[in-house]
Symmetry: C2
DNA sequence: CCTAGATAACTGGTAATACCAGTTGACAGA
DNA sequence: TCTGTCAACTGGTATTACCAGTTATCTAGG
């Protein structure tokens, strides 16, 4: 069963060279790490619940018998990993784990790579299609309802010619699909992908919006997916999702090349 | 092209309720965020290179015209996102972005969910198989060499009955496969998966090691994958990887149920 | 009595300072 | 040349203080 032990020795032995001897480098334990550990454990065992207000920095410092800066460092980390929401002057509140703040920090690093945008699109396809493969096994009426209401929102947005509402409904639709897969990891991964897309667009990349003559086609595609699920035809639904995402990627590629050419001719 | 705008409005409008008005909540910009941003930008544009030593906290505080605690908060975040390596008494050094420290913090939260282990295995399958799909298009001789040398290490470990070396070679093998896919995202995602496995095992879960009577079978499977790649038979290689991972998952399931039963009877 | 506005007691954000512990490198003695 | 010491770093932690924003209370005015 080496295949598992693999994962144990990876980070242990790869970085340092003396893994043949059995000496491991000593890393001094820092105070903020201990605080962090206690916090995470308390969340795990339910001592702290989502939405709950955590004590003030001064109280925590007193409780932990450490100084306020140490507490602050731990809180800073908790903020970055998206486990708490800090309101200056207010207090800190526990929330559902969200990786977005972390992604915000590293996003520029990722996008500094060539062709990262396209890879991201491909990756999104991968997880969404996988979600569709899982969806059949444990599909419920509630899942269908959630997807249906997203579709209805999309329809309303189309009628009212409201791209923003349509966008929100679109993401809600795909989110519902992921939720129906009942896979926690896939949901979290989608969260990361969504944050990355957001930063990509905010940073001026992939600005393929505004031209919503395709809005009706998109709506029809989503409607098709919904109807397939309604009939419990999961194979068809999967194919439709695949076709939909491929189409979206095609639109992206078209937009990018259209944007690239004038950029080059300007040189 | 609503499908893209979606991602822009997601985190903007979902959290607050007044997205119909257009008012966005004001979040006061904190000093450490500004420092963070400057740092990340400097890494992006190459002002700071991997391995380079960054100035001391006191120097940075002076340069940025802020206090040392503010600098420390930024450094703390950089440490968590795995962009710098801090040696107490030494200094801080830039390194390749690695998500492991971040994963270390949130791992307990993730594993506190039921059936996360199995989901993780399934997810690993997903990305590895996807990597095998990509591998055909851009496979080079260097890729084959890297995979081959990992296999050779695995063989040596098998002869010498050295599970640890075999484990290292195993992960190196799969890593080479991911590298050959030329997909940055898949590589990074594998990194995360590997970190998670490490924490799972360290935390006493999935301790399915030691019994290496299966080592030869694992070696043969890896060898088969290599030989298929040698003949550029990518379809066969993909099937073999799929079979290999399914087998590994089966072993896991067997071990878990074997462990679960005595645990229950002990109650 | 009720409401509007001021006030006081919070909160987190930042700063300045000091001291400790570990690392490093140079220097002096063997 | 080698070795041990020591001084000058480094980051880790603690203390204290003050600022700005929020919140809740209380008071003065209606």
């Amino acid at each position: 069963m080496i295949a598992f032990q693999v994962f144990f020795w990876y980070t242990e032995t790869m970085p340092d060279k003396n893994h043949t001897t059995g000496f491991k480098p000593i890393a001094p334990r820092k105070i903020y790490q201990s605080i962090l550990e206690q916090f995470v454990n308390m969340v795990c065992d339910g001592s702290l619940k989502t939405g709950e207000k955590i004590p003030s920095e001064r109280e925590l410092a007193e409780s932990f018998q450490v100084s306020r800066p140490s507490v602050r460092e731990a809180l800073r980390v908790l903020e970055i990993i998206g486990l708490i929401d800090i309101q200056p002057g207010g207090g800190a509140y526990l929330k559902e784990l969200s990786i977005s703040p972390f992604i915000s920090v590293i996003a520029p690093l990722l996008f500094s790579r060539d062709s990262f945008d396209l890879e991201l699109l491909e990756f999104r396809e991968l997880i969404e299609i996988r979600a569709m493969e899982l969806i059949g096994e444990r599909f419920t009426e509630a899942d269908l309802d959630a997807i249906g209401s997203s579709l209805k929102e999309m329809g309303k947005a189309l009628e009212g010619n409201d791209p923003e509402a349509g966008a929100v409904a679109d993401i809600a639709f795909h989110r519902s699909l992921l939720l129906a897969s009942k896979s926690y990891i896939l949901q979290k991964v989608l969260e990361v992908v969504v944050s990355l897309f957001e930063h990509a667009i905010r940073g001026g990349r992939s600005l393929v919006l505004q031209e919503h003559e395709d809005a009706r086609q998109l709506y029809e595609e989503h409607k098709g997916i919904y109807e397939a699920l309604e009939r419990r035809d999961f194979n068809l639904a999967r194919s439709l999702v695949q076709a939909h995402l491929t189409m979206v990627r095609g639109l992206y590629a078209r937009t990018v090349t259209a944007k690239e050419i004038p950029a080059e001719s300007a040189l």
